[in-house]
C-alpha cells in the first residue's frame, strides 16, 4: 500500500527535519529577525501535524506521546515563571533581566529574553499539538489507509 501516497510520504520524510530546524532557528533568532516563541511553537507543531496527517495518528503519538504533550504544556509556563522568580531571588524585580548580568545589562536582557521565548515556544508547541490530538482523536469513520 506504499505506492498510493508515495509522493506525499517521501516529501514529508524529506521536509520534516528541515521544518524542525527552521522552527528552532526562528526560536533562537527572535532578537535578530522577526519571529520568536509564538511562531516557533506553531512551526514546531506543524512538523508533528504534517507527520500525523500524512502518516497515521498512532505513529505521531508514538513519537510525541499524549502524556508528554500535557507535561510539556505546563513546563513552558514553569520556565517562564522560574525566570521571573530567579530574577526576584537575585534581588531585582519580577522579570527584570538585568539581574543575569549586572555589569552588562544588554547581555542580561539577551539571556532573559532567550529563556522567556523558550518557555513561550514550548507552551505553544504543546497547545497546538494538544488541539490537533483533540480534533483528530475523534472516532474515525474511515480507516486511515483508505483516504
Amino acid at each position: 500500500m506504499i505506492f498510493h501516497h508515495l509522493i506525499l510520504r517521501v516529501v514529508t520524510k524529506l521536509l520534516v527535519g528541515t521544518i524542525i530546524l527552521f522552527a528552532l532557528y526562528v526560536q533562537f533568532h527572535g532578537d535578530f529577525s522577526p519571529g520568536g516563541g509564538f511562531q516557533a511553537g506553531v512551526i514546531m507543531a506543524v512538523a508533528f501535524i504534517l507527520y500525523g496527517i500524512v502518516f497515521s495518528l498512532e505513529s505521531v503519538k508514538k513519537v510525541f506521546p499524549e502524556w508528554l504533550v500535557h507535561k510539556i504544556l505546563a513546563l513552558g509556563v514553569l520556565i517562564y515563571a522560574c525566570t521571573g522568580i530567579a530574577t526576584m531571588l537575585l534581588g531585582y524585580d519580577f522579570l527584570d533581566y538585568d539581574a543575569f548580568a549586572p555589569l552588562h545589562p544588554t547581555h542580561g536582557q539577551h539571556w532573559g529574553l532567550l529563556a522567556i521565548e523558550f518557555g513561550v515556544g514550548v507552551t505553544v508547541t504543546g497547545v497546538m499539538v494538544a488541539i490537533y490530538y483533540a480534533f483528530a482523536g475523534r472516532p474515525p469513520s474511515l480507516p486511515d489507509e483508505d483516504w
Binding site: 506525499l8 521544518i19 527552521f22 526562528v26 529577525s33 522577526p34 519571529g35 511562531q39 512551526i43 506543524v46 501535524i49 504534517l50 496527517i53 500524512v54 474515525p140 469513520s141 474511515l142 483516504w147
Partner: protein
C-alpha cells in the same frame, strides 16, 4: 536617478502580483467544484509568498524572507489538511445517510 528604478520595478511587480491574486480570487468565488477552490487557494498562497518577498525588497527589509518561507510551509500543510478533512467529511455524509435509512 538610477537608484529610483528598482523601486519602480518592484512596485510594478507588486501591482502585477496583486492583479493575479484578484484573478485567482475570482476563480475561488466562481469555482464550480470544491477542488477548484482548493487549487485556487493553493496558488493564492504561492502568489502571497512571492508578494511578501517582493515587498521585503521594496521596503529594504530582507527579514521578510523568513516570513515568506513560513507562509510557504503553512500553505503546503493547510492544503494537505483541507484535502484530508474533506475526504473524511464526504465519507461522514454517506454514513449519516446510511443511518437515516435505518
Amino acid at each position: 536617478m538610477i537608484s529610483t528604478i528598482p523601486h519602480f520595478v518592484f512596485l510594478i511587480a507588486l501591482l502585477m502580483l496583486f492583479i493575479a491574486m484578484v484573478l485567482v480570487l475570482l476563480r475561488l468565488y466562481k469555482g464550480p467544484t470544491l477542488y477548484d477552490r482548493v487549487l485556487s487557494t493553493n496558488s493564492f498562497g504561492t502568489q502571497t509568498v512571492l508578494f511578501i518577498g517582493v515587498l521585503g525588497f521594496l521596503c529594504e527589509r530582507p527579514d521578510f524572507l523568513d516570513i515568506a518561507l513560513l507562509y510557504a510551509l503553512i500553505n503546503f500543510v493547510s492544503t494537505i489538511a483541507i484535502l484530508k478533512f474533506f475526504r473524511y467529511r464526504a465519507i461522514g455524509d454517506i454514513l449519516i445517510e446510511r443511518e437515516a435509512k435505518k
